[in-house]
Symmetry: C2
């Protein structure tokens, strides 16, 4: 342990007492997030902040000693963005989980960063309102983490991602200064948009401690459509067709491998003869009418089976099948989950590429994702004890990312860059653009202590 690290641990223990964990046995759960094949180190201490003043104290000490700080919410990230580095302070905001205010008239909620997405959604629903962003992790992930990665979800196609629902952010700079960004108003053109700069910055600029998010009226009448296709290309065609005649809130895709895995785990009896399955929902006053148009779009695109239901529970059960996709694939081995986004018309090429890559490398890859956004999660299944296979998985992953970039895509739609995608970032954004990002990082964090080696 260096002198600086010893100094900060002593100082934090003295000032924050029980909020500080230094026993490596107790801090083991704070070393990494849920990503696979990303590196992680051992923190010198974990601070489980109880409030903003704990965050300020932690950062002031880190600033003074020049010790790195890795902030984490619930640790559900899938790109290593919250993985500890050796000798760092892990700053956990999971205990800062108070919903500070729900303003029903203004339709906003002010929350601490450690509030679980699903808890906010429930509290909003109790007031007849809706917190929209619905990442797959919504029952276990925090608003702070959602903001840090700009988390997506299923219904982004119609309602946008986390970034689109945040009005204000309260954050702490690495020297302990508190800042407030944005405005509570729907429109705001005053100065540079610091709010959108913090969203997706993965803890590299400041520590988000509170946010004011926008709530919506929940539209009534969700109608659900399930369609099977022999060829995944037909499913993509159907998505494009339906988006030209309706405004579906989601259009989720599962490929054959994923369908089989979900059936195996859940015994749901999804159509295993299908090459791809689409799950579509429309909402609002025109939901039934819109789903009719979507069903027609599927028929016109050679759907082999169609099923429509306006029953909310049945719709939810079908959505659960889709949400089970990753867990179901995890039953088959170790997994390396990707998060690629391409323009919707390029989805066919991306799906074809994934199939070819799987064949070429002799790997099982199950693909599911948010077809309406062009956001896919091809998931490589492998045996982590087989070194040669791990290498093949890595190479297949590299090739998928490369093909995605060729198709005009993004290396990450909703999981963030973290450690997993860092080597692809400059290739995607360009050298001059990357240099600007580094310059901005230096403005916020001149000492480079926040989440070093992450994202940019």
């Amino acid at each position: 342990m260096t002198q600086a690290v010893a100094g900060i641990v002593r100082e934090l223990t003295a000032s924050l007492g029980g909020a500080v964990i230094t026993d490596p046995v107790l801090s083991v759960g704070y070393r990494r997030d849920q990503s696979h094949l990303t590196t992680f180190g051992t923190p010198a201490a974990v601070v489980r902040a109880r409030d903003v003043s704990d965050v300020v104290a932690t950062l002031q000490a880190a600033h003074k000693y020049g010790v790195p700080v890795v902030t984490r919410g619930a640790g559900t990230g899938l790109a290593g963005g919250a993985n500890a580095v050796d000798g760092c302070i892990v700053l956990s905001i999971e205990r800062m989980n108070r919903i500070l205010e729900i303003d029903e008239e203004a339709r906003t909620a002010a929350v601490e960063a450690g509030v679980i997405n699903g808890d906010l959604a429930s509290a909003a629903a109790a007031c007849g309102l809706w917190y929209v962003p619905d990442p797959g992790s919504r029952d276990i992930s925090t608003i702070g983490g959602n903001l840090a990665t700009n988390a997506g979800g299923a219904c982004c196609a119609k309602y946008g991602v986390t970034a689109d629902h945040v009005a204000r952010i309260k954050a702490v700079l690495p020297d302990g200064q508190i800042i407030h960004t944005g405005a509570s108003t729907r429109k705001n053109s005053a100065g540079l948009n610091l709010t959108q700069l913090l969203v997706g910055s993965e803890g590299t600029l400041a520590v988000i401690v509170e946010a004011t998010v926008r709530l919506r009226r929940k539209p009534e009448g969700v109608t659900t459509l399930v369609a099977s296709f022999r060829d995944p290309a037909d499913a993509v065609c159907a998505v494009m067709r339906m988006q030209s005649v309706a405004d579906p809130c989601l259009a989720e895709l599962m490929d054959r491998t994923t369908i089989a895995a979900v059936n195996r785990m859940t015994k749901m009896g999804l159509d295993e003869s299908a090459g791809a399955l689409l799950l579509v929902q429309c909402d609002g006053a025109g939901a039934t009418e819109e789903v009719k148009c979507c069903a027609q779009a599927c028929s016109d695109s050679r759907a082999t089976e169609l099923y429509v239901t306006s029953d909310a529970e049945e719709g939810e059960a079908l959505m659960r099948a889709r949400r089970a996709a990753l867990t179901a694939l995890e039953q088959l081995g170790s997994t390396l989950l990707d998060d690629l986004a391409v323009p919707v018309p390029q989805l066919t090429h991306m799906l074809e590429a994934i199939t070819h890559i799987a064949d070429r490398y002799g790997l099982l890859i199950g693909t599911f994702g948010h077809a309406a956004d062009g956001n896919l999660h091809p998931t490589i299944v492998f045996d982590s004890r087989d070194e040669e296979m791990v290498l093949r998985a890595h190479n297949a992953f590299d090739e998928m990312v490369a093909r995605c970039l060729q198709l005009g895509g993004s290396i990450t739609g909703e999981h963030g860059v973290g450690l997993l995608k860092r080597r692809y970032l400059t290739r995607m954004v360009g050298a001059a653009e990357h240099q600007l990002m580094a310059g901005i990082k230096s403005v916020f964090d001149p000492g480079g202590i926040l989440n070093p080696g992450r994202s940019l």
Copy 2:
């Protein structure tokens, strides 16, 4: 003329030829935007860039000579953001007006920054698509200017502002380097969000030369509702009520002064007995149903008159009445137009404050705006030859902004900070936040040559 200025004018004239205007008689129209009571200077030259290479050449020369550059689109700004400073180069992008591509399948359009918003909207409509952002200036303002100010419009309540519809930006840094930000995909969590940093930055960070914007399917079936209220507070109450039962795309408000001015100019016969008039539109498959709910919300809020039409042309005629508001008020004298945004529930307090301020200063203030967003344009009418009255107008303006900030509002909803609002910016965003903005500015523009004295 300093040596540097003489040098750059000589160099630009030599390299860009006919694109450069140095005759002050010919450049007089490039000295200012459409704002009133903002200062402006005389440029050393105007470059009417024909393409990106003209922009690069201009910035390289300005960088070399350390001469300020003020970029302008169509000059329709209302905050002095494009006003020249003495001895600067005005860089006009109005001739860069090519629509480069409309990708019907991906539903995006790539345009040069000088394309007129309305021209893009028409071209999109010809492909059965919709470019949503609809600032009042849409027939005369450019996409580049819309991006620079994060322009709003009427239907932002449902569909968002300019920022919400841009996917990628191509821009030139002050040293002539070209950057590309964002991604063509709907979702993108890769690196810091440079796109949203450029949006609303009012030409202070880089010169936007191209943008890829998102297009939507145009929903059918617009239904329009007009409601009169004795008391403006009732109109605000109606807006809140309707937003809790429907999703109107717009809810435009006009106060008594504005109604009278519009009637005087257009002879439209709007209800002059009303204290406020609301113009509401719903669209999509459920439009008729939704307007019914909105009409009920108005009745429940003591509306004195209600009128509903599903006739598109009649709806458009009513919208024209609203759009005529500023022009109608301009018939009454010189105007000082404000652009305040408050949370919707605070609209009543803001409207009351405006009335009190008008009374106290003995000024006519006509207020209209986007009630669904809490975005108001109180417009002070005065005699510009009467110095004492000009002073009163300034003071009344100051007080409106101060009250808006007290109510948790933003000093600008959609016009930008420009020169007009610069003295209020730090008060709104805070000193630490303002310093971060200045730091970011230095990363992009270390020499401080882009739009000096503007915005941040």
